[in-house]
Each structure stands twice: as structure tokens, then as C-alpha cells.
Subunit: 198 residues, 2 copies
Amino acid sequence: MAFRYPNGRRYNQSSQQGRKKENYNNRGMRFEEDINSSINYYRETGRALIHKKPTPVQIVSVDYPKRSAAKITEAYFRQPSTTDYQGIYRGMPVDFEAKETRSHTSFPLKNLHLHQVKHLEEVKAHGGLAFLLLRFGGEQAMYVIDAAHVIPWYYDQSERKSLTKRYVASHSCIVPEKLQPRYPFLDAVDELYFTNDS
Amino acid sequence: MAFRYPNGRRYNQSSQQGRKKENYNNRGMRFEEDINSSINYYRETGRALIHKKPTPVQIVSVDYPKRSAAKITEAYFRQPSTTDYQGIYRGMPVDFEAKETRSHTSFPLKNLHLHQVKHLEEVKAHGGLAFLLLRFGGEQAMYVIDAAHVIPWYYDQSERKSLTKRYVASHSCIVPEKLQPRYPFLDAVDELYFTNDS
């Protein structure tokens, strides 16, 4: 979906130079926020129903102070058993993981966890759409790549410990950064899964 | 799926009298555990891919002690934005909430939260299966009822503040308690959604 200014002029990515100067350390957080704001936009406009899963936490102890909210005073992070994002698009189950790497040239497979890879495999086996959203260092755009192009390499890291950007680019659809939604990744999903049934 | 003993005899619910004597206070917890063990069973046997969503928590402060796991020392419960259970069955998105009431005769609608009802509505609008698993006091069996039979009453509580067990029973499929899985609720889902396209 192309975004246009009220005067009809097409929104231009290069007008975002201000954002490019920001501190690199904030980018990881911003990456996640941008994806969250995109799924919220899609939810509000009714195009898809996707939520980010909460981080699983093992709660050990909780205080119940008078007149205020219950306070968790001891808890630990648990290993998630799924990917971060799940929902429904075009009546189909969708499931994806979003990952960013600082590398400008390749995506190290160690950035994925076994439970995420296994879960994406299961989603595919059950007929859902399973993919990764990847962003490389120095780029605003990201890539939607079907899990089938990633899983075999994950299991055979003796052969390939990372995916080159070239490999990713040639097996995926690119998602340019826009304004609303920040990452119109469903356009790439359409192209990848719903165009000419290819 | 009927469960049979190794000698071929059909598993009989009344042989579970020992369990019925247990402390009522443990039942709520056991209800959730039984559903969790059922979805795990279905996942392991490949029949469905359903997970329970983690409870969302707002993490405020975390300690990183040497040589041991990160410890969350201050956190608060957040309002969930979805239902508890989500996944894929027969290639379709499924989404449900499980609720137990002590009442032997009716399910009070105040046991549902607005965000759960809204989410179930959205799931239906996006083409997923959206239902409730309900259990009444004094019964081991539970009911699978499509969200469409619940949502209108939720919004019009001036007319009906609870669903009678009779209403639920006549608009749902019953799930007897068995052994493995404890609640074979997908059989009821099959009957409700996939039998003769009715």
C-alpha cells in the first residue's frame, strides 16, 4: 500500500534522513517497535489479526499491597516455545520471527533458536504461513523469507553458518520502510504466497 | 477418539471416582492443567498445533546476578489483549478461552473479559475458529460452544447476565473427560465445525 501525503505526493523514503542519523544502539529496540506498530496498524485497519506473544515468565512470588496493583517481586525468564508473532491473514494462520543483525553482508544462523526453528517447521506442517522478517545492518528495508529457505541451513550449519544477504535477497521479498505502516510486510507476504499461486 | 484399555475394554469415566473426591480448591488449577496437557498431547501426536499464551507482564527491574539466571525483581501483570489459547487445527486458525464456573446451573458472563470477547469476534471476522471451553461445577465434562452463541449475550447483559447450562448444552458439543488426552475437545470441534459442513 503506497502512502501519499495529503497533497497527493508519494511518500519518499529519502525524506527520512533524520532518522538514519540516530544512535545505532536504539535501533534494535526501534526495529521491534516498528514491527509492533505495523501489526497494530494492520489490526486496526482490519487487514490482519497479528499479535506479539508476551515474553514467558516464571512467577515465583507476588506481593499484594493495599490499594495498589499486585507486584511481582521474584520471577525468571522462561524459554519461549514458539515464535514472537502469530495471527491470521487472509483466513490463514501466520507465524513469524523478526530478527535484526548488525552485519551488512550476512545473517548468522545462531541468531535463531532451536525452539523457533522447530515451531516454524510445525506451523508449515500444519498448513500455516511461516516466515522470517530479517533486517541487515545499514539498511532500513527488510526481507520476508519463507522458513523453508532457512530451516535446512539451520540444521546443517556444518555447511553454512550464516545466510548471505545475496542468498536472502534472491529467496525473499523486500519490504521498504514506509510511514504507515512502518513496515508494510503484508505486501511482501502477498507477493510471496498469494501471487499467481507461485 | 475413544480411549481403550490394553485389553480392549472402553475407558469408563465412572472409574474415576477417586478423582472426584479431591479438594474443590484444586479444581481450578487442575482444569487449566488438564487443558494444557490435552493441547500438549495433540501437539505431540501432530493433530493440532495449539499453545497457551504466556501471561503478559510489564517488567520494571531485573537483577543480573553472577553465575545465575537473570532475576526479575519488579514486574506487574498487564491486561492480556487476546484469549489464552491459540493455534492451528486442520490448517485453520483456532482461538479459544477456557472458563470454569462453580455454578451447577449457569455460566455468569462476567467471567469473560471484554478484551477476550472482542478478540474472539476479530478471530471470527478473520475466518478463524473461535470458541469457548466451559465447565460447570459438579461436572467433569465440558462444553465447546462457538463464540457466536456467546458474544451477543455478553453485549446485552441487560437481558441475560449468564448463560444457563441448558442453553449452553443445546448450542454446543460436550467433551467427556477421558484419560489421554484428558479433554478430547477436538472431537467436539470436529462435530461442531467439520461434520457435514454444518
